[in-house]
Symmetry: C2
Subunit: 343 residues, 2 copies
Amino acid sequence: MLDERKFMILRAIIDDYILTAMPVGSRTISRKQGVGFSPATIRNEMSDLEELGYLAQPHTSAGRVPSDKAYRLYVDSLLKRDELTEDEKLRISDYISRRAGQVEDVIRAAADILADETQYTSVIVAPRIQTLRIKRVQLVPVDEGTALMIVVTGAGIIKDALLSVPSDMSAENLYRLSEMLTNELGGHSLSEVRQIFAGVFRNLSINRRLLGGVLKVMEEKLTEDAPEDVVIGGTTKLLNYPEYSDIEKAKNFLSVFESKDRLAGLLKKAGGMEISIRIGTENEIEQLKDCSLVTATYRVGQHGRGTLGIIGPTRMDYHRVVTIMQYMGGVISKLLSGENYEE
Amino acid sequence: MLDERKFMILRAIIDDYILTAMPVGSRTISRKQGVGFSPATIRNEMSDLEELGYLAQPHTSAGRVPSDKAYRLYVDSLLKRDELTEDEKLRISDYISRRAGQVEDVIRAAADILADETQYTSVIVAPRIQTLRIKRVQLVPVDEGTALMIVVTGAGIIKDALLSVPSDMSAENLYRLSEMLTNELGGHSLSEVRQIFAGVFRNLSINRRLLGGVLKVMEEKLTEDAPEDVVIGGTTKLLNYPEYSDIEKAKNFLSVFESKDRLAGLLKKAGGMEISIRIGTENEIEQLKDCSLVTATYRVGQHGRGTLGIIGPTRMDYHRVVTIMQYMGGVISKLLSGENYEE
DNA sequence: ATTAGCACTCGACAGGTGAGAGTGCTAACG
DNA sequence: CGTTAGCACTCTCACCTGTCGAGTGCTAAT
């Protein structure tokens, strides 16, 4: 429905607007390399594009500004994916790998470098621990009557909690109990723990009365719903963009990050798509109506998955963001799935 | 050097300015309850106070604004400490206790409620783990050739790291090694680990080569300088105050929180004082020259200590802040030192 | 010593003006 | 017939101006 030339002009407008954040006039476009038309011609086309809903005028006789619809078209059909330079790739993967170790450290590092590279605010949702496979369960004595329960996967600790245990329980006993639990639960995910426990109770060969209480508490701790683990990087990056030079808007925007749960929900709406872009009002959240949200998915092992995203103004540099996110998704997946824990 | 009346007037001015953030005029003070003087008299006194460096005028014929020096006098001699209401006490201690468990959870909760109650930005430095007494060291097998090392103190996990171990090392052996390490290191602080290791190496009765590697990694992991663990709450609270309605100032302020290390250094300068207040330029950090920093110390067990602080405009409500901080210092100390891990 | 009175200063605000950027329309051109 | 030059028009923004009010400092009276 849009002919070649309109496409070209629209693209030029968006490119310019992304760069300058100022309404784009016909002359600006006409002067561009590769555009062989006079301002008047461009004006006619722009007028058409406005009628079609791709452009908007803040007021008569300002230039024009792309609408959400325009950005949508832009990312759907005009977006070319670049490759990152070797330099950039190295910078990113180095930064993240250097802190490899605990899942949380990786996520934290990833959020930081993502925000730094894109200059937008980054958000990463940690993999739902419920889906990870348990490797070991270990009880460690802490005090008379207190033990620390630790659940381990290939990626490190995923859950730990303090329990009270019968005070006459020896370290030896705790160790044996750990072995038993590891046998029972190893290889399963947290979400399956509850069913398994039913079985464990039945087969109890050890002193049932002594252990009953402990097991119950453990079951609770293991199955309780962990709050969504969301890491945010570069919260204040947005303040560098002119569209947020107004304090009210800035506050409004920042308020989105107060509720991590809502944020996690938002990110996860993207579903399993490799890259998802939601522009302006597509976000359904009032405060983000002038923002775009780009999300990507990463994997942890066979079953775990998490989401990384960046939030920026609708006039964001989609090329760059998409390219970076794609690369980072890969890096994170590899780090968190691989068993590379030499260091 | 300041007579009774000047004191009184200065105090009235500060009180008013804290409330309104607007330069205070002579009439405003004169109209106040308990001030029996005409504006003219007040003006004379204010003029004196200005000469003495306690007040400043943004421009002729605006009212006057208290200087850092005035705030200093205010907190040193005019500050009366209130008690919190039972209601507030309960709200605070409840909020924090509810998440008791891991040190980090407590700190996180404390930072949140502190920011909420004061409406300023809160910062809490976690206790230096170096000074905590080790309770146990536990090695947990994760994979062929990989183990997770967990160091436990009375307050829960404080450090964990993945190590590679000889791939023929059994769970049984790891367990025995854990016992040995616990014996050697238990009761000592992390900062002493390095010396102890020297001794351990000498007494090694088990396969020396096998253990050598493990110990080396452990030493590294245990003694490496952990980055300061700093938790920040209510970062954007400051945006609600008129002095930060300018984006540039806001950005400037927020940049302080980018480097947690510097922030930690700043907080710790307060030293061991129970409550320390640094006003405006006393902070030595350019970006905080319009801010005050109130810090308090909390204790963890015998030797651990950490700092909690809030950062707000110099015209902050010192009464309230000090009162809250004092109370919270107590609550945190009790929670992190006490051995109350029933639940 | 205190206060009333008054002239003075300065910022905030409203209204007015001109420049500049950009538009839409029309008529001319290849 | 598509393209373009020209032009009148619109709207914002920056700047200037005058007025108003808050607050001061000084002086003289109490």
